[in-house]
Amino acid sequence: MRFALTPDQVAFRDAARELLAKECAPSVVRAAWDAPAGQLDRGVWDSLDAMGVLALLVPESDGGLGLDETYLVPILEECGRAALPHPVVETAMVAAPLLGAGAGMVSTDLGGPLIPCAADSDVLLLRAGGGALVAVPPASVSLTPVAVTDRARRTATATATADATATATRTNTEPATDSRRSDDEMSQVRSVTAATRTNTEPATDSRRSDDDVSQVRSVAGTNSEPATDSRRSDDEMSQVRSVPFTRTNTEPATDSRRSDDDVSQVRSGSTATTTNSEPATDSRRSDDEMSQVRSVAGSAALVTDDAGAIERALDRGALGTAALLVGLGQAMLDLTVGYVTERHQFGKPVGSFQAVKHHLADAALALELARPAVHRAAWSLAHDAATAPRDVSMAKAMASDAAELAGRKALQCHGAIGYTVEADLHLYLKRTWALARSWGDSAHHTDRVATAIGAHSVQSC
């Protein structure tokens, strides 16, 4: 028993923290709010890539670092602390184990219907639907200007062509006999990605070689089931946006609690697969499986239809998001401690008032106890523990609650100064609100824990 980061893990985390402190100051986060699509400054992103963070979970033989979640999660905490305006969880935690190294920037709708990503143009899109995960390569992804509270998050959607292709590919009833696409197709996908990246890749990237870039992979359909695509159409989405007061749940749950079915519906229709909880017997895919996944398709292609793999992807996303939340909460607490020490009212520092002290002690307490839950879940995922799903849910529930609490206390202790976009606090606050309700909110994950620990009676499950 030893519940602490190893010196290696600490060193890696501290290096990431230092990098982020230098390259991801609040001004960088602010710039991401205003960056037009395709013109996002990705200096810090490329530096993280150069450091190996994005492919940390990928085996060394595949160009990754071959490390596990106990290394990545503390780094994600730092990414949260910096409010990093890039989809690091989606890319490093969710996509990398499925797609391997070099997939570029990845967004996904696994965590909710919003498919949030940065304002960049070469985003690979992982979409869930009909019990499968498909990948839409950057060329077929478009950014739509949906207003979100945290404007460093954008919404990417697949173009109509990509959707049509995806459906076409997936309605092919013949199983693919060869799991790799032709070189032609491969280079097509690769060139789109490479062309875009040329514009933005900084000279400081000391690691990525052309060889690396040529490893960019897209994926093909090996599954013959017709897609019963339950994704929300664009029309439905715009309806949601314009009349949130009146939107009705079109498929009411028979039980009034948000059931697992319900939530997987929110997660864009992976109904059939999310509740299928076959225990994973091996936390790493075999090489055979890997090469199957890496097979290439036209513009949207099947990544996996293995329920266990999708479940693990959801768990990785939830845990990565939990880590971001703990970091965000810590950042807000630190900002506020600094502020209330400087700010004077009634002739003394605001932080000397007992009410302010108690607000911030509460925030510190919640974060202090959420953090071990997040680290433990990383260990459980890395070691494929039987309790991993429960541990991930505990981490996400506690991190969501702690970060939301820290945000509330931070805003209250800042007073009017925090209630402006000129102060930095809002950058962290709005990210917190978004992430607390993505990848399953606190109530969802608490109910998942309740089921795992047997708090639900047989009748109510």
Binding site: G111, G112, P113, L114, P116, V146, A147, V148, T149, D150, R153, V240, R241, S242, P244, F245, R247, T248, N249, A253, S256, R257, R258, D262, V266, H344, Q345, F346, F353, A355, V356, R408, L411, Q412, G415, A416, I417, G418, Y419, T420, V421, E422, H426, L429, K430, W433, A434, R437, S438, D441, A443
Partner: protein, 384 residues
């Protein structure tokens, strides 16, 4: 005890409802789509047209005497009007800081000339008033005001800075506290001044509130020359050097009855209940019922308060409890709405916007920490 409305009150309610529904529809049509936020420059202009409609129908300030643009409604009728206003889904009042915060002080401390010259133009939206209390170093600690006014022949020379001035960038006038006795400190030697924002030497800079709208402003005074007659009846409200007591009366209004009527929260509660019915789990539906009860309790508490006021009582420190209640209720309601929306909550729609606005409630009009101190000290009598 009689918890029924009289036939006359019901007629008043019906009239208000009919007028509001018809005019709201017309105004919306007039806007050509969903009106923008009243805290943006474009939205403010749209909302002024709504305010003008209200004034033309004598609904802008129902409880004021008709000579000032009101209709002499009782406090009960005012409550009914507010209930109908929010039930119909009418927009937040961009004129509220004048009508609900300044006007009560004008009625209490203003001369007849000031009343005649200021109130009707305020109700009509001809003059748009913003509040100039806070300064960079005087937030909760209002008595730390350092903006100063120096007496000169025929007027005042103003220097200093106000900030967090709601909708300051769109308004025409500011009311606020200035230090007129340079040797004074704390709450002595302050004067309550009425300042046209086009006074030379005044600069207004709008800036973004939490929700990104330009809802705040900084107002800079650099030797601004304020003539005594810049406002009809004079620019000093109450006594020179006696502004603190006038301001405290305004602060009382802000926390109390007039700023946040129960109707506003009842309407939100109904919408949250509907949302919970449509997409909530049992736990969320229970939370919706709790929030609804809290809104309903605020309504009941207000009915009891109005009964007392109608019998001649003065509002007191109970206003601190009221402010705590509605501000935390508003957060409760919107937090539940966001939880019901789940991952869709981050879309920057009405609920998300209203959530961000609700978060200001525990901060403005005296932070809830200050209110709890006041409640403990003045209502419970705990030692300072």
């Amino acid at each position: 005890m009689d918890l029924t409305w009289s036939a006359e009150e019901e007629r008043f309610r019906a009239e208000a409802r009919g007028w509001l529904e018809a005019n709201l529809a017309e105004w919306r049509a007039d806007c050509g789509g969903e009106p923008a936020s009243g805290d943006t420059r474009d939205g403010f202009a749209q909302h002024l047209r709504w305010e003008r409609r209200l004034f033309d129908g004598s609904w802008a300030a129902v409880s004021w005497p008709s000579e000032h643009g009101g209709r002499g409604a009782s406090l009960w009728e005012w409550l009914l009007f507010e209930e109908e206003y929010y039930r119909a889904g009418c927009p937040a009042r961009v004129t509220q800081n004048g009508i609900f915060l300044l006007a009560p002080s004008i009625f209490e401390f203003g001369t007849a000339q000031q009343q005649a010259g200021i109130l009707r133009r305020m109700a009509a939206g001809d003059d748009l008033w913003c509040q100039g209390w806070s300064e960079p170093n005087a937030g909760s600690d209002l008595a730390a005001v350092t903006s100063r006014a120096r007496r000169v022949d025929g007027g005042w020379v103003l220097d200093g800075q106000k900030t967090w001035t709601t909708r300051g960038a769109f308004c025409t006038h500011l009311f606020g506290l200035f230090r007129t006795d340079p040797d004074s400190d704390r709450h002595r030697g302050l004067t309550y001044l009425l300042v046209p924002l086009d006074t030379p030497g005044v600069t207004v800079r709008g800036f973004g509130r939490l929700d990104g709208d330009e809802g705040f402003a900084e107002v800079f005074f650099d030797g601004a020359e304020l003539a005594d007659d810049a406002v009809p009846g004079g620019v000093v409200l109450g006594e020179t050097d006696g502004g603190w007591s006038v301001a405290m009366a305004t602060a009382g209004s802000e926390r109390g009855l007039t700023l946040r009527s129960p109707g506003r929260f009842l309407a939100t509660a109904e919408r949250v209940v509907a949302l919970a019915r449509e997409r909530g789990d049992a736990g969320q539906q229970r939370r919706a019922a709790t929030a609804w009860m809290h809104a309903e309790a605020y309504q009941l508490h207000t009915l009891a308060t109005v009964t007392k006021l109608a019998a001649g009582a003065k509002p007191g420190a109970e206003a601190s409890l009221t402010k705590l209640w509605w501000s935390e209720l508003d957060v409760e309601l919107h937090e539940l709405a966001l939880d019901l929306l789940g991952p869709e909550a981050e879309i920057d729609g009405p609920w998300s916007k209203a959530w961000q606005f609700a978060l200001a409630g525990p901060i403005y009009a005296g932070t809830n920490e200050i209110q709890r101190n006041i409640a403990a000290e003045r209502l419970l009598g705990l030692p300072r």
